[in-house]
């Protein structure tokens, strides 16, 4: 350690102790920020003797990281990970400062880090990861990064810096086959159908051009969004050979999914096809580290708490499922999940337009709220800063008699006094934080997230 990095380390550690002492909740990036200011290369020193796996992509990286951590714990090695939200350079420095002793004295430490797409290059350069796990790239917060290809370039710039690293990528996503890396690349995806159909993705789908001849891609099947077994009309660009794959989807329900990976049965205690991809990514990294399929299966089945983002709470006997929505693909997946629900439900949907939500709300018109007509939905309740946009969106989707409730306290009373037993709250990020705060005050959830 240089003198500079020693000072950075001391300053960061002290700041960490102080913030822990005076603030109850963790996850602050301040200690990392301070240490980074003193020595931008501190990450290199902090990660000495540590192996790293970087998880990135626009959707699903938090859950994929959490699941990979649980799976890789089966190796018996010391596993370090960062809390969701602390996925930029400073947050990761904070994480490594916090786990400094484990990294130094632990057994062959391995860090599984969720990394923000725009921070991949910076972090990869310093940590030289052994694996990159790429979940997907969907349109997300365009006002922040620009376009899906810009996001893709940011990620690949980072990957190219570490040519010895292995890339584990979602093979069903056409974007991950666009360029040849110097790296070894292995794909995971779906092989659950023998369909020979030749279909195109719906009009509203992003990322459907073949880089070989700029024609619109065809698919044998689509799992969701632009994911599936794709091929170009001239067949010179197509879904790559998969190393790890789902062979059958047996049952999809809002609260669980059953499927087979290479003939092994898997059960995960969460709904949504997209979560099978997250589980598959975790399975793939587990296999790379030599863990048996049956062991991975029991880990994924065991603990429903790691699937935290989709949380079910009880309000006066009403079952309320809270889900995050932030872009068209995510919202469509959530609606697909609701359509697997056998019980009647009310939907509360909350739209904010703060920086963390994305300040451009136009994406709600690309999400297919029309599909809600095919579910057991009884009543829609709308709130959040941009309730008007949502109200018009749902009106245009043909829903009448929606209720607007801007006050979250009243909203919770409304749930509490409702005849419906079953609710979904679909909210953008800051709207979710806001409603959780009120839920916390009323004692319905423990922490404010």
């Amino acid at each position: 350690m240089s003198i500079r990095s020693k000072i950075a380390f001391l300053a960061g550690s002290t700041a960490l102790k102080l913030t822990k002492k005076f603030k109850k909740t963790g996850g602050t990036s301040y200690p990392g920020k301070l240490a980074y200011k003193i020595d931008p290369n501190i990450l290199k020193d902090l990660s000495k003797n540590m192996e790293t796996i970087i998880v990135t992509g626009t959707n699903g990286k938090t859950l994929t990281t959490a699941l990979s951590v649980r799976v890789l714990q089966e190796t018996g090695r010391t596993i370090i990970t960062n809390p969701s939200g602390s996925n930029m350079v400073q947050g990761i420095i904070s994480t490594l400062l916090e786990h400094h002793k484990e990294i130094k004295h632990g057994s062959n430490p391995l860090a599984v880090l969720e990394v923000d797409e725009a921070n991949v290059a910076k972090i990869a350069q310093l940590l030289k990861p052994k694996y990159f796990i790429l979940t997907n790239i969907f349109r997300d917060q365009l006002d922040r990064y620009g376009e899906i290809y810009t996001t893709y370039d940011k990620i690949t710039d980072g990957i190219k810096l570490v040519p010895n690293a292995t890339v584990l990528a979602n093979g069903d996503s056409p974007i991950f086959s666009r360029i040849n890396f110097p790296n070894s690349i292995k794909y995971f995806g779906f092989n659950h159908s023998n369909s020979k159909s030749k279909i195109k993705a719906p009009n509203n789908t992003d990322g459907i051009l073949s880089p070989s001849d700029d024609s619109v891609l065809y698919y044998n099947f689509i799992t969701y969004a632009n994911l599936g077994k794709f091929f170009s009309i001239t067949d010179d660009f197509k879904r790559p050979e998969l190393k790890y794959f789902v062979t059958k989807v047996s049952k999809l329900k809002p609260t669980f999914s059953d499927f087979l990976i290479d003939k092994e049965k898997f059960h995960i205690p969460i709904g949504g096809l997209y979560n099978i991809y997250n589980a598959l990514a975790a399975y793939s990294i587990g296999k790379e580290y030599g863990i048996e399929s049956s062991k991975i299966g029991s880990v994924l089945n065991k603990d429903s708490r790691i699937f935290g983002r989709q949380e079910v709470i009880n309000i006066n006997g009403k079952q309320v499922t809270i889900v995050l929505i932030k872009n068209p693909v995510g919202t469509n997946s959530v609606i697909d999940m609701m359509s697997t629900d056998d019980k009647p439900f009310d939907l509360i949907t909350l739209l904010n337009a703060n920086y963390a939500d994305g300040i451009d709300t136009s994406w709600i018109f690309d999400a297919e709220f029309e599909k809600l007509h095919k579910t057991k939905l009884k009543q829609i309740i709308i709130g959040g800063q941009r309730y008007k946009d949502l109200d018009v969106r749902l009106k245009f989707a043909g829903f009448k008699n929606t209720i607007i409730e801007k006050d979250f306290e009243q909203l919770i009373d409304l749930i509490s006094n409702s005849k419906t037993k079953h609710f979904y709250i679909a909210a953008t990020y800051t709207a979710m934080l806001d409603i959780r705060k009120v839920l916390n005050q009323k004692g319905f959830v423990k922490e404010s997230f």
Binding site: D143, N203, F396
Partner: protein, 244 residues
Amino acid sequence: MLKKYKLNFAHLYGDLMNTYGDWGNILALKYYASKIGVDINSELISLGDEFNSNKYDFVLFGGGQDYEETIVAKDLPNKAKALIKYIENNGPLLAVCGGFQLLGHYMVMADGTKVNGISAMDHYTENLHFKGLIKNKEKRLIGNITIKNPVTGEEYHGFENHQGRTFLGKNEIPLGQVLEGFGNNGEDISEGVIYKNVFGSYFHGPILTRNGNLAKRILTTALNKKYPKEDWESKLKSIPTESF
């Protein structure tokens, strides 16, 4: 028996120029049309498809990402003649962002690549590095925007996010003057364009979902052209306008 009215829409490159909720514009028109007993049939016209200038009563040409826009620009010359004929015959058309740019002479992307439009209209688009810029140089123009049409007095609200700087030309008037935000180029307070029955804009939003007044105006134009005997304006007047 109730008389059935029907409009045919063409969604130009709807599978590629679809980045900013442009589909919402069709949903908005469908919504108001359904309230006055008019059916809408919307058709995708994409790469390699022919555009028939006599077939459609309204055309939507949305915005896309740079990559998709360059692909569209290569295909567009095949449809240029028919599109120009449609526009010159007073066909109603809404063009947003990239669609707006490609109807003009050219557009320069952020990396300096110049993409030719079809010169159906006289505007042209420079990029954020353009030497002629005085205000807001080197900056993406992002944020909420409000404009006012000086002729009708209507106000339109939306969200803009573009690096391109569009300058209007001969026979073109702006859709509105900027009250808040940047507009076409951040220089001359113009936003969007009106040329014959073509409406162009940088608004995401999408523009017609938040501006029912403009949606009704476009719908009235299309209906008057196809069914001139009916009083569409007063029919639409009785429907509440979503405007916020």
